[in-house]
């Protein structure tokens, strides 16, 4: 197997995730797109771990998974709070701090 095929799959997932973050209005959908980005990062880490014959990439991927789980928990709690205060989670309506 080529190294580049895993890296290219990661690149595709990353760009789809970036599109989702930029294009989506719903906060939950933006969090889902962030998950796509984090998974592409993990794919890259594991591909390089396999390429270099080193275990460090696996360790980093595990840490990324744990941080992503924490991020989703806090992110969804914040979304819930915003929904309770505003009755909406459309990100373009949350423009109070816009200069």
């Amino acid at each position: 197997m080529l190294t580049v095929q895993f890296l290219l799959l990661g690149a595709v997932l990353f760009c789809i995730g970036v599109y989702g973050v930029l294009a989506r209005k719903n906060a939950v959908m933006v969090l889902m797109s962030i998950e796509l980005i984090l998974n592409s990062v993990n794919l890259n880490l594991l591909a390089f771990s396999s390429r270099l014959g080193s275990i460090d990439g696996n360790t980093f991927a595990l840490y990324v998974i744990a941080v992503a789980a924490a991020e989703v928990g806090v992110g969804l709690a914040m979304v819930l709070l915003i929904y309770r205060n505003r009755r909406t989670i459309a990100l373009d309506e949350l423009s109070d701090m816009k200069g």
């Binding site: 080529l2 294009a23 209005k25 998974n39 396999s50 941080v67 992503a68």
Partner: protein, 172 residues
């Protein structure tokens, strides 16, 4: 190059799973129903776990299934359920100027693809049978050896996230 070096079965498996993942990821960012997007995301995450198995990272694959497909997706479905009663298609899930995101991500994909193909070309991964199989023991020695301090920091991150999520979501 001998035929056995080509790993035909692994490559076919990679192609099928990769295609499935890309289609599902595109559905995640284009579908008009939040619950359907979460279910498409399950396919992407499971496909990622399968790719980790192809890269002979069994423990990460299992963790991916447990944490992402098990826990994170339940959180997403709960979040969807708690923030909107509406089940079904919605017309306005996209920003007003979502069209700009298409050329941005396409340009980014083009640049990344160019750099990757230029940098790695036809470099091959070591075959699973000839590379040193990494047992989980080595992984745990790595986590609890040189990466012990990040591990401690990570447990504090998780603790803070748990407390923070409770504090934020509490009703008073």
């Amino acid at each position: 190059m001998v035929a056995a070096d080509l790993l035909v079965a692994q490559n076919i498996g990679f192609g099928i799973i990769a295609l499935l993942m890309i289609v599902a990821a595109l559905r995640v960012v284009t579908v008009k129903n939040v619950v359907h997007a979460a279910l498409w995301l399950v396919i992407v995450l499971s496909g990622a776990a399968a790719q980790y198995l192809l890269l002979s990272a069994e423990f990460v694959a299992i963790t991916q299934v447990l944490v992402y497909v098990g826990a994170v997706m339940v959180l997403f479905l709960f979040g969807t359920m708690l923030t909107r009663a509406k089940i079904g298609a919605e017309a306005d899930l996209n920003n007003k100027n979502w069209g700009i995101a298409v050329p941005v991500s396409l340009l980014m994909f083009g640049v990344i693809t160019w750099v990757l193909i230029d940098g790695f070309g036809d470099e091959r991964l070591p075959n699973p049978d000839e590379q040193t199989q990494v047992p989980i023991q080595v992984l745990s020695d790595d986590i609890f050896g040189p990466y012990l301090l990040p591990f401690w920091a990570l447990s504090f991150v998780l603790l803070v996230a748990v407390i923070g999520a409770i504090v934020l979501a509490r009703k008073d």
